[in-house]
């Protein structure tokens, strides 16, 4: 049976996210509780979490989380990393044994900084983030048996094959303090159960948890691949992550414009728009980024250094509920998954199709 990356596997999912706008930190227990409530939305073949603000003492370093299938590939990959980065710290990610979590790969993390000379020698590499993302893509493409599943600064992804609550227990998320958590429980229709195939999917600081099966997958994939990305997993989540990375980091689009790209307004609505300036802008977005429109059912939670964005497809074919209490914003596939950790929210709403919930951390601007 082919593993994820060699073929495309449709899947259904549960997603959940919590953010504290004032950057107050809290450990992983709440998010585990929330995603565990939606146990039936996943089938034990994938669960994962992204946590922002967890590595304050290494906040200037890229934190590479890597799965290895063997010691030999670990040695080869580390050799590559050493040639391209200065490694501040390398360690095995601490875990605790959980009965249901089996077939565990080697799980390591590295706090690294791109080597100045390595970056300069590559003429196609505009800055250190671009360099780092290229190196991550290179490892994932060329080093069979090694998989970088997290590469941001002061953030990290924890994922694997199992129910999300078990994965959270396994990675000891109760010991991490973050100001933002996202979680994912997966229901793939078939999979040999590969750890790299679980979600969230990340590149640099972007993390995406996603529920849906996008029908524009190959259009989006072939579009981002024109700009130097390589979709190694063949998952929707991967391609959505690359799209946002490309639009916001490479093309420098403001985040609200990037949202207009992936969840574009309908032509009829554009025609109805009264302001010629807005109309022209929306038309230009649809014309230039036609192939970046994400079509088909999805609800996603994007995490990045400035905050969190939750978004539905244009006609809301997947569930997404949001709630607010104090400094905190909650989003989840089901309202119950919010109420279990926040029993009397000030506001609960169901965002409309294509209308994003954008939550910025205090002091951040779009």
């Amino acid at each position: 049976m082919l593993r994820e990356g060699k073929l495309r596997i449709p899947s259904g999912c549960a997603i959940s996210g919590i953010i504290d706008r004032k950057r107050n930190k809290f450990n992983g227990e709440e998010i585990i509780k929330s995603i565990a409530l939606m146990h039936d939305r996943s089938n034990g073949l994938g669960g994962g979490f992204a946590a922002y603000g967890i590595y304050p003492s290494y906040k200037d370093f890229y934190a590479l989380h890597i799965f290895y299938e063997s010691l030999s590939v670990k040695a080869q990959t580390e050799n590559f990393i050493k040639r391209h980065f200065d490694v501040e710290k390398a360690e095995s990610i601490p875990t605790r044994p959980v009965l249901s979590i089996v077939n565990i790969p080697l799980i390591w993390r590295y706090f690294v900084r791109p080597q100045a000379q390595a970056c300069v020698s590559k003429d196609d590499c505009v800055d250190e983030s671009d360099f780092t993302s290229k190196c991550v893509i290179k490892i994932n493409t060329d080093y069979e048996g090694a998989y970088v599943f997290s590469s941001g600064k002061n953030m990290g992804t924890f994922k694997g094959v199992g129910y999300p609550e078990d994965i959270g227990e396994f990675f000891m998320l109760d010991t991490y303090e973050a100001h933002m958590w996202t979680a994912h429980g997966r229901f793939p229709t078939n999979t040999p159960g590969w750890w790299g195939g679980a979600h969230p999917f990340t590149i640099l600081n972007w993390s995406v948890v996603h529920n849906g099966e996008i029908s524009s997958y190959d259009t989006n994939r072939r579009f981002v691949e024109m700009y130097g990305y390589k979709c190694t997993l063949k998952t929707d989540t991967e391609v959505i992550t690359y799209l946002f990375d490309m639009l916001v980091r490479k093309h420098k689009l403001p985040i609200e414009k990037a949202i207009k790209v992936v969840s574009a307004p309908f032509w009829d609505d554009i025609e109805r728009e009264k302001s010629e300036e807005v109309k022209n802008e929306l038309k230009s977005i649809r014309a230039v980024y036609a192939n970046a429109l994400v079509n088909g059912p999805f609800s996603i939670i994007l995490g990045y250094e400035k905050g969190m964005i939750a978004l539905n497809d244009r006609i809301k074919l997947r569930p997404l509920v949001a709630a607010e209490k104090g400094n905190r914003i909650y989003v989840a596939s089901e309202e119950s998954a919010i109420r279990i950790i926040c029993n009397n929210p000030e506001r609960v709403w169901s965002p409309r199709g294509g209308e994003p919930v954008v939550v910025l951390l205090e002091g951040e601007q779009e």
Binding site: S215, T219, N280, N291, N295, I315
Partner: protein, 501 residues
């Protein structure tokens, strides 16, 4: 006179019990197949002149006529089949180059029919176009590399002029001269009503049609017939025709007998003179010359019109297309070897060029590998027969398609492959006034509108089934295609998987 070896191609059978001797067939056949014998007061038939255009069959009020293949057989021979023998009879009698009309009829593979589309089941919902919005609009033209916004989120990038199509289908180039004025008028009016475009072809544009300008693409071909500043500015876009799928590498020839007063004025050539388009543009002998022509045309139109470049699908199309994008074209048009024509040398039509499906897949892939696919639109032509062909073309990577043969079929063409005689009984490929008026634009433009509207509905159904509600999410979405009856190499070139994979 020596013996004529030619035998009829068709046999006209008249059912005596049904024939009422009304002579409608006699009045309608421009080839004089049916004639009235006054002596015996009876309608008679000369089979040898019949081209099987079905005009008489369609108009016969009692359905008394049937046309069949002439039942004369040669001794069975896979190699020296009847057609091969008859062509030799014809050439040895006349000493001429064999001429044919419409597209390549030979049994080469039709890849559209070897690709199947996907649909949503369980894991993702299909979308009902009757209940949900379903977008088929496309924007054709050059796109900037990226959009730039200022700190306040205001758009800084000025978009190059693009044209918008409500349906990703346009009417391809058919010149006034090769087709009749009424056919042209039908195409223009239909394009206007549908929010799409028709193409003037290389014969210029009659002033009477300038009013359809916003739905017109004006063509500039090697003969430069009827090309002047006002003409270039009359349309919404300009198309430089380098080649045509039916006859890559050769020029065109409109016989003098088709050049009447009006065609003469439109083409700017004397009445009755042959209009001969050279094989190449004599100011384009290389890619940099093409760039100069593109920018000359842009200068002449104040950079207000997108410039398309049309090439025939040939062996090296992918590299040529890349050059065309880099030369500054706003859209590339690629015409496959099944594309129709009013007249082409038979040997060229049947043996030159490659299938559009393969050319399209190769060009789209090549432009993506070079990172320039998004700069320019890709339009394909060359026997798009129905809405699923359109959908498959878009899934392979096209932005839109051109239809020529399908459009003239909607106007009544019965594919008799006799355009070059100029005696089209349906009033399409003819300039004889009494034949031209058989095509009533008031009726025929509506048939074109009906056709494209029907296709649009079907495209929406197919999109909805795939769980897609905007056609741009299908463009290049090759996972939506699966191949059957294809070998590994064909799958590789098409960039698709085999059914079941």
């Amino acid at each position: 006179m020596s013996l004529d070896f030619n035998t009829p191609d068709f046999e006209v059978i008249r059912n005596g019990n049904r024939c009422i001797q009304c002579k409608v067939c006699v009045h309608q056949c421009a080839n004089a197949v049916h004639f009235y014998d006054e002596e015996y007061d009876v309608v008679c038939v000369d089979d040898s002149k019949c081209v099987n255009c079905h005009r008489c069959v369609t108009l016969c009020p009692t359905k008394a006529l049937v046309i069949r293949k002439y039942p004369l057989e040669f001794r069975e021979n896979f190699n020296w089949h009847g057609k091969a023998i008859k062509e030799i009879y014809k050439q040895s009698q006349t000493g001429g180059v064999l001429l044919s009309s419409m597209g390549n009829p030979e049994p080469f593979p039709i890849y559209w029919d070897k690709m199947l589309l996907n649909a949503s089941q369980v894991t993702n919902p299909s979308i009902d176009p009757l209940r949900e919005p379903m977008e088929t609009k496309v924007v054709i033209g050059r796109k900037p590399e990226r959009l730039k916004f200022d700190a306040n989120g205001k758009l800084l990038t000025k978009m190059p002029l693009n044209i918008e199509l409500k349906v990703p289908v346009m009417f391809s180039a058919m010149s006034y001269g090769s087709i009749s004025r009424n056919a042209h008028e039908s195409l223009a009016r239909a394009a206007e009503e549908l929010g799409i475009f028709y193409n003037t072809g290389e014969g210029g544009l009659s002033k009477d049609f300038y009013k359809y300008g916003k739905n017109t693409i004006v063509q500039v071909a090697s003969g430069r017939f009827g090309v002047h500043k006002e003409y270039l500015n009359a349309g919404a876009a300009i198309e430089i025709k380098i080649g045509q799928g039916a006859k890559p590498g050769i020029g065109g020839h409109l016989p003098g007998k088709k050049v009447g007063e009006d065609v003469s004025a439109t083409r700017m050539i004397p009445v009755g003179s042959d209009a001969i388009s050279p094989a190449p543009h004599h100011d384009i002998y290389s890619i940099e010359d093409l760039r100069q022509l593109i920018f000359s045309l842009k200068e002449a139109t104040g950079y207000k019109k997108p410039v398309f470049v049309k090439i025939a699908a040939v062996h090296n199309s992918a590299a040529i297309a890349s050059g065309v994008v880099r030369a500054g074209a706003d859209a590339i048009v690629v015409d496959g070897f099944r594309g129709g024509t009013g007249a082409a040398p038979t040997r060229v039509r049947n043996n030159v060029g490659i299938p559009i499906e393969l050319a399209l897949a190769a060009i789209d892939q090549r432009l993506r590998e070079e990172g320039i696919r998004n700069y320019c639109s890709l339009i394909v032509a060359g026997s798009i027969r129905n809405s699923s062909d359109v959908v498959k073309a878009i899934a392979l990577g096209a932005d839109a398609v051109y239809i020529g043969s399908a459009a003239v079929i909607a106007l009544g063409c019965h594919m008799c492959h006799s355009c070059s005689t100029g005696k089209c009984n349906w009033g399409i490929a003819t300039q004889y006034p009494e034949l031209v008026k058989r095509l009533n634009p008031d009726i025929m433009y509506k048939r074109l509108v009906n056709l494209i509207s029907a296709w649009n509905n079907e495209i929406q159904e197919l999109l909805g089934g795939m769980g897609i509600n905007a056609i741009e999410s299908l463009r290049g979405n090759r996972l939506m295609l699966r191949g059957v009856d294809l070998n590994e190499k064909e799958l590789e070139v098409l960039g698709i998987k085999y059914a079941g994979e």
